[in-house]
């Protein structure tokens, strides 16, 4: 702790060489009942990528919202190129060359790519829209950025990754001096990520400053120059990226020491739980065969869009299956539905907690109990057993360390990490044998990640459960899986076991043959 405090006192400029493009001095912000930022100092130099790091709720979003002009500080001030700045709106900040790409998209789904790209800055001749010019400019912008998007495509037809690219294109439409990116790669494929990083480097070369929020350790090292860690609304430390090891960052971020980021999982494969043969599902997945046994974590790796998520969803009965057969605990599964699979002991944890995992309007207890209400512990013939329900849910909240441990509180009021724990707790109510975890750690902070990993370890080692881990986060697969399947364009391209699971090996199967190692 002493180390941490000492670093907080040190001024954020480590070297006084480059002039600061943007300076925040003693910025505070209150929301009803909570102080989101507490006298934060922050410097952004021209030509650097400055990573903001911290748990959900540490104040990162508030900080970038202030820089982007969406919020105004209650205390403290901003200096842009040495002069006091006070942004009245996002538009105002944009005029000064500050562009932000937030996690929530600001696109109009029913409009086209080009219309969205120039929304609020339409090209006109007199009172009329100059559509041909708009089209030309849109094509220019997109080709300059190297994004493969059709200008006349409707946004609601685009994939999430394409929408993300459009959002970035919007930010880079005009010259920017400060670019804010909030977890921009969450929906991008490896190749699109590479392209984005190229763009970022280009912006950096042109002297722009980039504020970059991410939870992904490898991105920090690939693209970051300096890193500022926030905790509970305070700046804990600002360090150069090479000094920032994973363990150190976690320690700074959570304020406690973490022995290892990934726990060591002892696999002990037992009976075969799930066996899929020749599965064809949706429009993408074809001829997929895989098995998962009790007592092991099996990885399912692949790029975004490789169909790995669809495989998990097909097993759970939420993606239409048109070919192949599957067995669960030796019994053939015909026409799976979530209800049947839950009753058989297979749980699917969806990647998007907010849209598929939780009913945010309801409290923790009701969410945890939702899929198990038909069990005798939760209801009799007619009435619910609310006392028993409370007990079971309280125990699960305890076991997963949901913070705060108030099960009558609305699910919406919890951080992403705690919401993910709720989704896991919900899966546990039925004591399932097999978990299909689809991107179990996207968008949750590193502290919560380690907790989720430890929990997976316990499930496998102590309860003999099987886990199919579907993940785009390669380190997760490398450290946790006993075996892993790699998917490429809807089929399983390789099965790797034990020591064969290396970054090189997995990546080489993720890409077109030939360009294999490029992603590493």
């Amino acid at each position: 702790m002493a180390l941490t405090d000492a670093e907080a006192d040190r001024p954020p400029e480590l070297s006084s060489g480059a002039p600061a493009l943007l300076r925040l001095r003693g910025v505070s912000k209150w929301f009803p009942g909570v102080q989101a930022l507490d006298r934060v100092d922050f410097d952004l130099r021209a030509g650097e990528v400055h990573v903001l790091f911290g748990e959900n709720g540490a104040g990162k979003s508030t900080l970038i919202n202030i820089v982007a002009g969406a919020l105004r500080p209650d205390e403290g001030h901003l200096l842009l190129r040495g002069e006091a700045a006070d942004f009245r709106s996002v538009h105002d900040a944009r005029q000064q060359g500050i562009s932000a790409v937030f996690q929530e998209f600001s696109l109009v789904p029913d409009m086209t790519v080009e219309e969205n790209l120039f929304l609020g800055a339409e090209l006109t001749t007199g009172p009329f829209l100059n559509k041909p010019a708009l089209h030309r400019r849109a094509e220019e912008t997109l080709s300059r950025l190297g994004f493969v998007l059709r200008p006349r495509a409707r946004v609601n037809r685009l994939s999430r990754a394409e929408q993300q690219m459009l959002e970035i294109a919007k930010a880079l439409r005009s010259n920017v001096s400060i670019l804010i990116l909030d977890e921009p790669t969450a929906a991008l494929t490896e190749r699109e990520t590479d392209r984005l990083f190229q763009l970022i480097r280009e912006c950096r070369r042109q002297g722009a400053g980039i504020i970059y929020i991410t939870h992904r350790m490898n991105e920090i090292h690939r693209i970051g120059d300096r890193i500022t860690v926030l905790r509970d609304g305070r700046r804990v430390a600002t360090l150069e990226v090479p000094e920032a090891t994973g363990e150190k960052l976690v320690e700074l971020m959570t304020g406690r020491r973490i022995e290892a980021f990934f726990p060591r999982v002892d696999h002990d494969p037992g009976e075969e739980l799930l066996a899929v043969e020749g599965l064809g599902a949706g429009s993408l997945v074809r001829d997929v065969s895989l098995t998962v046994c009790a007592g092991e974590i099996v990885g399912l790796a692949g790029l975004v869009g490789s169909g790995k998520s669809e495989v998990g969803r097909a097993c759970f009965g939420i993606e239409p299956v048109h070919a192949g057969s599957s067995r669960f605990r030796g019994r053939p599964v015909t026409r799976p539905t979530p209800r049947k699979m839950l009753e058989a002991g297979l749980v699917y944890l969806p990647p998007d907690r907010r849209t598929e995992g939780l009913v945010l309007e309801r409290n923790v207890r009701e969410n945890i109990a939702l899929s198990a209400l038909s069990l005798p512990q939760f209801s009799g013939r007619v009435l619910l057993k609310r006392r028993s329900e409370r007990g079971i849910c309280a125990r699960l909240a305890e076991r997963l360390k949901i913070v705060p441990r108030r099960i009558e509180r609305g699910a919406a009021f919890f951080s992403g990490g705690n919401q993910q724990k709720m989704v896991i707790a919900k899966g546990l109510t039925r004591n399932p044998g097999l978990f299909i975890m689809d991107e179990p750690t996207t968008g949750i902070d590193v502290g919560a990640k380690t907790e989720v990993y430890t929990f997976m370890k316990d499930l496998v080692e102590q309860e003999g459960a099987g886990i199919l881990l579907i993940s785009s986060d390669l380190p997760e697969i490398l450290h946790l899986a006993n075996r892993t399947y790699v998917m490429y364009r809807g089929t399983v391209r390789a099965e790797l076991k034990g020591a064969e699971i290396t970054e090189q090996a997995v990546l080489s199967h993720c890409f077109d043959s030939g360009t294999g190692a490029a992603g590493g």
Binding site: P32, L360, S371, L373
Partner: protein, 347 residues
């Protein structure tokens, strides 16, 4: 710091902030109803002392039973994230069908009063509930939006009710029907109040102590997450609209007994009034949240409010204006509430 005045000022500010936060949290949890009730009781109570007299409250309690039952019906649809614009014509169909059935049985055999009433009630409930079934089928199975389905059903039902009556009220029901279900009293308390209390208790158990209740909230909150939790969402959506139709229909039977005629236009204001009661009672238009007790209170509030306007002689046409304004106000407050919820979330 030497200045004591500053210190007390700070305390006052801190206290004010805390009170403000408390008010906000209460608002987020209970909605706009406590505020409205306070304004109602104080405002009308001062303007017209009779407003808060026991006799008047007794009258309001009886009057409010119809809206209360229909509001509970509406609540079922709202909880799932939809609504039912056809509750009014469900009332009307029930009224017309039950009146027709009763009068024709009595016309055939003037002594068959018990039979006439039983058959009439069953026919009315059957007609109303089948409209609920149609709504449920369209919305849950055919994926028609609740707005379009129930709006179309409102036209269908109103047209049918007018067609069956030729636009003329149906008379000739046995007087005992109105005398018991409409004006009857037991131990000094009107029969409709008993019926309403039974429905409230039933709804309370349904919403808070059964799987169906829990599932309705979950479906309204997040239908995808509910489906992934193994809930047969279509069946429960269907049942919500059927039950909504049944309850609205029950309200129709009661109101027919009260009016002693079968009329095609008795429920015209019901969709608006019942949705207003639910929204004022804190049921979110996005589905997934809302407490039964508040809805019942809000329904009583609306009837009491209208009663107050009558007492201070506000014209009935103007009352419609006031009710519309009140509904918009409640919806705006629902939005504000969601925004507060969002800021409280940033903890």
């Amino acid at each position: 710091m030497a200045d004591v005045g500053v210190g007390t000022e700070e305390i006052r500010v801190a206290l004010g902030a805390r009170l403000l936060r408390l008010a906000r949290v209460t608002f987020v949890h209970l909605g706009v109803l406590p505020l409205l009730l306070a304004i109602l009781v104080v405002g009308f109570g001062v303007a017209e002392p009779r407003f808060v007299s026991g006799q008047n409250i007794f009258n309001v309690a009886r009057q409010a039973t119809y809206l209360t039952i229909v509001s509970m019906a509406q609540m079922l649809a709202l909880l799932t994230g939809g609504f039912d614009l056809s509750v009014g014509v469900i009332l009307a169909m029930t009224s017309v069908v039950s009146a027709k059935a009763m009068s024709s049985v009595v016309a055939g055999d003037p002594n068959a009063v018990g039979l006439a009433i039983t058959l009439g009630i069953l026919a009315g409930l059957g007609a109303g509930t089948s409209m609920g079934i149609a709504n449920g089928f369209g919305i849950a199975i055919l994926n028609v939006s609740p707005f379009m389905m129930t709006l179309a059903m409102a036209s269908i039902g109103f047209g049918l009710a007018l067609f069956m009556t030729g636009g003329v009220p149906v008379y000739g029901m046995p007087t005992q029907f109105g005398a018991t279900l409409g004006f009857g009293k037991l131990l000094g308390i009107p029969v409709p109040v008993y019926v309403t209390v039974v429905v409230i208790l039933g709804m309370y158990v349904l919403l808070n102590w059964t799987r169906m209740g829990r599932y309705l909230y979950a479906i309204g909150g997040n239908i995808k997450a509910s489906a992934l939790s193994g809930i047969p969402t279509r069946s429960y959506l269907f049942m919500a609209y059927v039950l909504c139709g049944f309850l609205a229909s029950l309200g129709g039977v009661m109101l027919t007994a009260r009016l002693e005629t079968g009329e095609a236009n008795i429920g015209a204001a019901m969709p608006l009034r019942s949705i207003a009661a639910c929204v004022i009672g804190g049921v979110s238009l996005r589905g997934g949240t809302g407490k039964l007790g508040s809805v019942v209170l809000a329904a009583v509030f609306i009837d009491w409010f209208e009663n107050g306007m009558n007492l201070v002689r506000i014209q009935s046409y103007l009352q419609m204006v006031v009710l519309g304004v009140l509904l918009i106000f409640a919806v705006v407050m629902d939005e504000v509430r969601h925004r507060y919820m969002a800021t409280l979330r940033e903890v």
